[in-house]
């Protein structure tokens, strides 16, 4: 179809009026942010689904993951740190050739990122299991708000532990990832974050819906006692949940560090409450809901920042949440259930 000159003018006009470029740019940013929110939101929703508990320490899992990732990366690539390590421990001298290998070739770089993400995810997952064992398991039969306060205590403790024992200032994240920029503000890092998030989300969804362990998790979330009577080891299922959630949070934390270029001890707070918002928006306890909620929230927030006001972008996110909950009290994909505090 050929456009008349008037139509073409109209198209240009509409594009100019609607800031088409800005919309696409903000959508790209929104999906990137949404991927991170979805990964964190899964941690909240998994724990909530099984224990009916808001794990307020989850934002600190995200933060710890970013630190674990940062230090793993520095360990393999930072010359200063390698120098210190090798002079103290001579048998670690393989680090210098390893650094050249990691930074020298594409394959090395891919391997480096696999190691960084893997180490951070495993360490954060173990930290999550430790916290569950120490702070939540003793409270499993306690009044509902007790584990919540315990979680807030863990969160305050971890933030201040990093503040006091690691660094009180932001640490720059090494910009090792090769960033190539395309049109509309799309770049290779954003593509990597979005693709990796999608892969992880699909992987987790398949894991929970197709495998036997996944079935055990679903059974536990439906009725813990009945699942126990059917021979499911409830404690291991809960421990596994507290491994998977923080591991995904750690991946999101490294994404966050790479995307914004720095990590700091209180970096978990805002992504944490927003991801929790995303989990509720999608219907808390519902895995696909958390994924959807994460992307919806990320996109709304970015569009809001681009078109209304950067200062009020969080207000927009919360107002949308309140409006959705008023009209659909169970969230986008959740069911309305009667429950009590």
């Amino acid at each position: 179809m050929r456009l008349s000159s008037r139509n073409r003018a109209a198209v240009t006009f509409v594009r100019d009026i609607l800031f088409m470029d800005t919309i696409i740019q903000q959508l790209v940013n929104g999906v990137t942010l949404g991927g991170m929110y979805a990964l964190i939101a899964l941690g909240y929703t998994l724990v909530y689904g099984i224990l009916l508990m808001i794990n307020f320490a989850h934002s600190e899992m995200f933060m710890s993951g970013a630190y674990f990732g940062l230090f793993t990366m520095l360990f393999f690539t930072d010359e200063g740190m390698i120098g210190k390590v090798t002079s103290a421990l001579p048998w670690m001298s393989w680090l210098t050739p390893a650094r050249e290998f990691f930074l020298g070739s594409t394959f090395g770089l891919i391997l480096l990122f696999v190691i960084v993400f893997g180490v951070a995810a495993v360490l954060t997952g173990l930290l999550g299991m430790l916290i569950e064992r120490v702070a939540y398991r003793p409270l499993r039969n306690a009044p509902r708000l007790a584990p919540l306060i315990s979680a807030i205590g863990v969160s305050i403790f971890l933030q201040n532990a990093v503040l006091l024992w690691v660094d009180s200032k932001a640490i720059p994240f090494p910009s090792i990832f090769p960033v190539k920029t395309f049109a509309y503000g799309i770049n290779s890092l954003k593509i990597f974050i979005v693709v990796a998030s999608f892969v992880l989300l699909i992987f987790l969804d398949t894991f929970v819906s197709k495998t036997k362990i996944g079935k055990a998790m679903r059974a536990t979330s439906q009725d813990r006692d009945a699942a126990g009577l059917m021979g499911i080891d409830i404690n291991s299922v809960i421990a596994l949940t507290f491994f998977i959630g923080p591991a995904l949070g750690a991946v999101a934390g490294i994404f966050h560090g790479m995307y914004y270029g720095a990590v700091i001890f209180n970096m978990g707070f805002f992504p944490g409450i927003k991801s929790f918002t995303a989990a509720v928006l999608g219907g808390i306890g519902n895995l696909r809901g958390a994924m959807l909620g994460g992307f919806v929230l990320g996109i709304i927030e970015s569009l809001g920042a681009g078109f209304i006001s950067t200062g009020y972008k969080d207000v927009i996110a919360f107002v949308i949440l309140i409006v959705v909950l008023i009209f659909k009290p169970g969230g986008l994909l959740g069911e309305s259930v009667v429950e009590k505090v």
């Binding site: 909530y48 009916l52 808001i54 307020f56 120490v134 702070a135 003793p138 409270l139 499993r140 039969n141 306690a142 009044p143 509902r144 708000l145 007790a146 584990p147 919540l148 306060i149 315990s150 807030i152 205590g153 863990v154 969160s155 305050i156 403790f157 971890l158 933030q159 201040n160 532990a161 503040l163 006091l164 813990r224 006692d225 126990g228 080891d233 409830i234 404690n235 707070f269 409450i273 929790f276 918002t277 509720v280 808390i284 200062g311 009020y312 969080d314 207000v315 919360f318 107002v319 949440l321 309140i322 909950l325 008023i326 009290p329 169970g330 969230g331 009667v338 429950e339 009590k340 505090v341």
Partner: protein, 403 residues
Amino acid sequence: MASNIKNALLSDKAKPWLIALAIVAIVAAPILFQGFGQMFMVRILAVCGLYIILALGLNIVVGYAGLLDFGRIAFYAVGAYVAMWVGLPITKMLGPSLGGLSYFIALVAGAIVAAFVGFLLALPVLRLRGDYLAIVTLGFGEIVRICLNNNIFGVTNGAAGLPAAGSSLPEPFGLNWLKMNAYFTVGNNFEFSFNANVYWYFIIAVLMILAIIVVSRQDNSRLGRAWSAFREDEVAASAMGIDIYKTKVYAMVLGAVWGGVAGVTFGYFQAFVSPESFTFLESTLVLAIVVIGGMGSIPGVLVGALVIQGVPEFIRGFASSGTLDAMGVHLSAEAISNISNYRMLILGALMVIMMAVRPQGIIPSKRVARELRPATIEDAEIENQEMWDVEHHEDAPSLRRGL
């Protein structure tokens, strides 16, 4: 022996004596601390008092009515900013000497505005349940803080806070007179003089006692019993003729009033407000006071506030007060700042430990403990377990570990 003492303390005969003792302690504490030069303690106690008022308000919402609220600090913020909006122009009008009276006008205004905000929030959100209500109140708290931070309508002066440079709140009314007349010394070491901290301490103490009286009477009123009733079972309560929605709105509004009262007093006490005082962390700390103290329990709130607000501030104040120097322990400036940095770490660990040791709170409410029906499956499990324990003394716990 210990239970004898406990029973004696809890009997009705002991009650007037306990109250008299508490009032004597409340009056004597600042005089003693001020007299012996421990000014920081007066300030800490005053801040604890503010948090007690704030937590008493939240106790209505969470403890009595069973509604989870994560945005409590928003009402505190509303009160504090109302104090500035009312106090600054009135001071300009009346001049500095009478301007101190503006506090009492602001107090009423702050309570009314906070109640109104609570009402507006309650209308749409009270149809939500449990954790959905929690996240919406969390969102509300953040919305208020972000709006203050962004200088909404040009009246909050953004992150710089109020009062803006060039204007200030007046001296508290009558403080000068008190400074000149309420002064005495005992021996060489004891020298009491009035200052702003002591002044606000007594104002806060009066408000706190007022709040305790009002809130406990509300708890024992028809309305309070309605709250307990629907906290335990909404369906049964509404079958008994309780208008659940209306009663919930009352809980939100009456809880918000104390947020406003504490906020106005905080504004005058600090003589400065900025959005960073009203973060989500503060909301969670107020909630922690209620839960750690024991939900629905007024003595619990008092103890909880002393633990949550008092301990970290005490650590900080004690480290820098010079008392350690006097005791012969000399610390470097760096060590002092380290000690005060550790206070939040200690608070976090303390919260975890206290919940592990006493999940029902330090002083649990008797009425909550008598609940007809457990609120959750977990509570039902506990009750079943208790029944089981009563019937089979010896090997009861092993059965549950089998899962």
